[in-house]
């Protein structure tokens, strides 16, 4: 072994360290694009089991649905959907029978053959099979049966009319079509070796870093603009933000905290922000079975005490004002444009104090509640707590971890409950999930998201909802939803607080290929590429 002089060794080490130190942080490869999302580790890439936002992003790129909205939008009406794996579709006049005609010669990744109606029937068959565990099962509860009519045609029969079927069940995460052959062959391993028809195919997963995808050149819309896509899982907002500012990643998921966008702009003024409108819908449930919220005047006082415009303004362009449960951007919604003055509840702290006094609480009232430590929950509820304090509500609020919050709230242990939900423009969804008596929270935890007990403590809404569900015409159905919203504004079991955009900060050197206006909290990156 050759001898190395001490001086030579030290010189070599110093040189290596100096070379490392002098090296600037390597920018992302110009052809590869990367996105860092707020998550710790991949959980599954089986689209029927994903609940994690970062996994949803990966699945959106790997799989295709039968129909899609225009890129960067939600399809606000049934006729706004565009063909995807289905070239065309039609429904019966009662909106209970839907037939989809599939595109021909659509290959699955990795040589698993071409898409057939059998793959579609298999995908949706699992979603309605009570013995199969999938996420979002409730979205498919209205499907009575699905069958492959012939290799290119799939038929769905619904239990009740649904003119919004494409939005309520087809264009959903679990509605992504999987290869039956691959799924049956791989079993549990499909979760991290998925096979779809999407523009990107799965390359590898690193449980400590993320999911790596590569282009699928045979995609039926042509190869994606970028040959590789890295979906990185970086939970910490600071770490994610610094990775973006240094140019290490092209896009990052934003934090849903007031001031986050401004802080990014200060460091990197040319940052592009892609934001969905409306984003999440944040509602405040008042438990009607508990004092003081069994009193309508108290609930009215809460409504007048909360300055919804101020809540939305705190988030800058991310925040949006909401009047009912359905966001103003969606059909079926109500707003100051179509509500009578007595149901608009403008911010009026004096009136709130007066109502509180009339309710028998001239010196204010105290109650306790808890909320989640998740950044959006805790920030919004702290603002609500402060606004309520100004009119005499003394809210003893605990901030606890998210899983505990849901568990305790789902066991009917909470009094004032904020809920953050994301909905497609299917007006019945928030109403059924948050108002129906079937969704009332139960002490054993088997109930749904109706934390106010509306429909049971104050009956009547179920009849209104039943009328909505029987209506096959979309425009009439939307009008009936508005009627439900008006009734809710009279009874006030739930208050719409604000909508909050889902935001991705994007390095302007990457072009998305379209403008993000609305949609789910994930979007296709098929056309994303480094700008010329």
């Amino acid at each position: 072994m050759p001898e190395i002089a001490r001086r030579d060794f030290l010189g070599a080490v110093s040189g290596a360290v100096a070379a490392l130190a002098a090296r600037r942080v390597r920018a992302a490869s110009p052809r590869r694009i990367s996105i860092a999302l707020a998550a710790r580790s991949p959980q599954t890439l089986n689209p029927s089991r994903t609940t994690l936002g970062a996994d949803n992003w990966a699945c959106r790129q790997i799989f295709d649905t039968l129909v899609v909205p225009e890129d960067g939008t939600f399809a606000l009406t049934p006729d706004a959907f565009k063909p995807s794996l289905a070239e065309s579709w039609d429904s019966s006049p009662d909106a209970k029978t839907w037939t989809f005609h599939l595109r021909r010669n659509v290959p699955f990744h990795k040589g698993y053959g071409d898409l057939t109606a059998d793959d579609v029937a298999f995908t949706f068959g699992r979603l309605i099979d009570p013995k199969v565990v999938v996420s979002g099962k409730v979205l498919y509860a209205n499907i009575d049966r699905v069958e492959a009519v012939n290799p290119q045609t799939v038929g769905f029969t619904l239990k009740q009319p649904d003119p919004t079927f494409c939005g309520s069940s087809i264009y959903t995460m679990s509605g992504n079509i999987i290869s039956r052959k691959a799924f049956e062959e791989k079993g549990d391993k499909f979760a991290f070796d998925p096979v779809g028809t999407g523009p990107f195919q799965f390359d590898r997963v690193d449980f400590s870093k993320g999911v790596y995808l590569k282009a699928f050149p045979q995609h039926f819309r042509g190869p994606p603009a970028s040959p590789e896509l890295d979906i990185l899982y970086i939970l910490d907002t600071t770490a994610r933000t610094l990775a973006f500012l240094s140019g290490q990643v092209d896009m990052i998921e934003g934090a849903r905290t007031p001031g986050w966008m401004n802080s990014i702009k200060q460091r990197k003024p040319d940052t592009a922000f892609d934001a969905t409108k409306p984003g999440s819908v944040n509602t405040l449930h008042m438990n009607l079975t508990r004092k003081p919220f069994d009193n309508l005047k108290v609930r009215e006082a809460v409504r007048y005490a909360i300055d919804r415009k101020a809540l939305a303004a705190a988030y800058g362009p991310m925040g949006g004002v909401i009047w009912g449960l359905i966001p103003v951007e969606f059909p079926g919604s109500v707003s100051d444009k179509n509500l009578p003055p007595d149901l608009q509840y403008p911010y009026d702290p004096d009136k709130a104090k007066q109502l509180l006094a009339e309710a028998g609480y001239p010196n204010g009232v105290a109650f306790s509640c808890f909320t989640s430590q998740r950044e959006d929950y805790s920030a919004i509820m702290l603002m609500v707590q402060e606004q309520l304090r100004k009119v005499g509500f003394r809210v003893d609020m605990q901030i606890i971890d998210h899983a505990t919050f849901h568990s305790q709230s789902d066991h009917d242990l909470n009094t004032l409950i904020m809920l953050s939900s994301s909905y497609p423009p299917v007006p019945t969804q928030p109403l059924l999930e948050q108002l129906s008596s079937h969704a009332v929270v139960k002490p054993d935890g088997t109930g749904g998201d109706n934390y106010s007990h509306y429909g049971v403590a104050i009956p009547g809404v179920d009849d209104l909802l039943a009328k909505v569900l029987e209506e096959p015409d979309f425009a009439k159905r939307a009008a009936l939803c508005q009627a439900v919203e008006r009734q809710v504004l009279k009874d006030l079991p739930v208050i719409g607080l604000l909508t909050l955009s889902y935001v991705i900060a994007r390095n302007p050197r990457v072009s998305l290929g379209y403008e993000v206006k609305s949609g789910y909290a994930y979007w296709p990156l098929r056309t994303a590429q480094p700008a010329a």
């Binding site: 942080v25 580790s41 609940t51 099962k137 991290f192 400590s208 770490a239 939900s421």
Partner: protein, 311 residues
């Protein structure tokens, strides 16, 4: 010696069983449902029940407990409830990063902290001592995640000297990624060790045998390094053991700030998602570390202080 090591490991078994039992019970008492986490907020009651049945979460608690202890005894950790990945695979991914970080931080802590403590003690009351004490005070006062963020902003983002986050690929790149997190934890550790060394050395320096050595005309360096330091190192070694254990379990903030994987990060995620098998496996790993580090400290103490003998 080997008999001693064996006995120490056997001694640790009841402690480990107790810890595992407490963790098992505590996790089940904690509100939150893994089925709800996995299936999402809008899962139906029937689906939640089906999931619990498939995962064995509907079995009586005593049955789950016995099954868990049997699996531990046979080294079968099972799969994560959340992503279905074998837990051995998750440990294999995360553990090396934790060990890597702990070793590097300990090396920096020892290399900086002990000499600083010696210098501080030797120059007691002098400006050098003041500087060392201020350093130690800052090390105690500044939270490690804050120090890490400061390093990231100035050394990585502004100067571009180090990568922002991740772990890198290849030996050199990995070392490059390791520098800042290790330096952050190492500086905190150095502050702790320097104070400990200083206090311990000052106590030893007032002993008769040190005075005797000086009276015999021994040079100050020989007095310090030959006679005093070895005797002063005993509490430092014990403190070092505690510090290593604190790094193993408490490096999660650093892992988050630097976007590094690791056992702490994995464990926190598993607690959040109520992924019982992963939490349990993580605790087993920590319990083993506690046993091993304590054993190493005892052996090191024997090496440092010949008066301690194995019985």
């Amino acid at each position: 010696m080997w008999k001693y090591i064996g006995l120490r490991i056997v001694d640790a078994v009841p402690t480990v069983i107790l810890v595992l039992s407490l963790v098992f019970v505590a996790l089940r008492l904690l509100p939150g449902d893994p089925a709800q986490v996995v299936l999402g907020d809008n899962a139906t009651a029937a689906q939640l029940e089906l999931f619990r049945k498939q995962m064995g979460l509907d079995a009586p608690l005593w049955h789950q407990y016995l099954s868990f202890m049997y699996n531990v005894a046979t080294l079968r950790f099972g799969r994560s409830l959340v992503n279905g990945v074998p837990i051995i695979q998750l440990l294999a991914v995360n553990l090396p990063y934790t060990i890597q970080l702990t070793i590097a931080a300990t090396f920096i802590g020892v290399a900086l902290g002990i000499p600083l403590g010696v210098v501080s003690a030797r120059h007691r009351g002098e400006p050098l001592d003041d500087v060392a004490r201020i350093f130690a005070l800052l090390g105690y006062a500044v939270p490690d995640f804050y120090l890490g963020a400061i390093f990231l902003i100035y050394l990585s983002l502004d100067l571009g000297l180090f990568p922002i986050n991740g772990t890198g690929s290849g030996l050199i790149d990995q070392m490059h990624h390791l520098v800042l997190p290790a330096l952050t934890l190492g500086l905190v550790k150095a502050a702790f060790l320097s104070r400990l060394t200083r206090a311990s050395l000052l106590e030893v320096l007032s002993k008769d045998y040190v005075r005797t050595a000086r009276a015999k005309g021994a040079r100050e360096g020989r007095v310090i390094y030959r006679h005093a330091l070895r005797n002063a190192l005993l509490p430092v070694v014990t403190g070092l053991g505690l510090s290593i254990l604190a790094t193993l379990s408490g490096s999660v903030a650093i892992e988050l700030v630097f976007g590094r994987p690791g056992i702490g990060n994995m464990l926190i995620g598993a607690v959040e998602t109520r992924d019982y098998p992963v939490v349990q496996a993580g605790i087993i790993v920590f319990a083993l570390f506690v046993v091993l580090v304590n054993l190493a400290v005892d052996l090191l103490a024997i090496a440092v202080d010949p008066r301690i003998r194995v019985r």
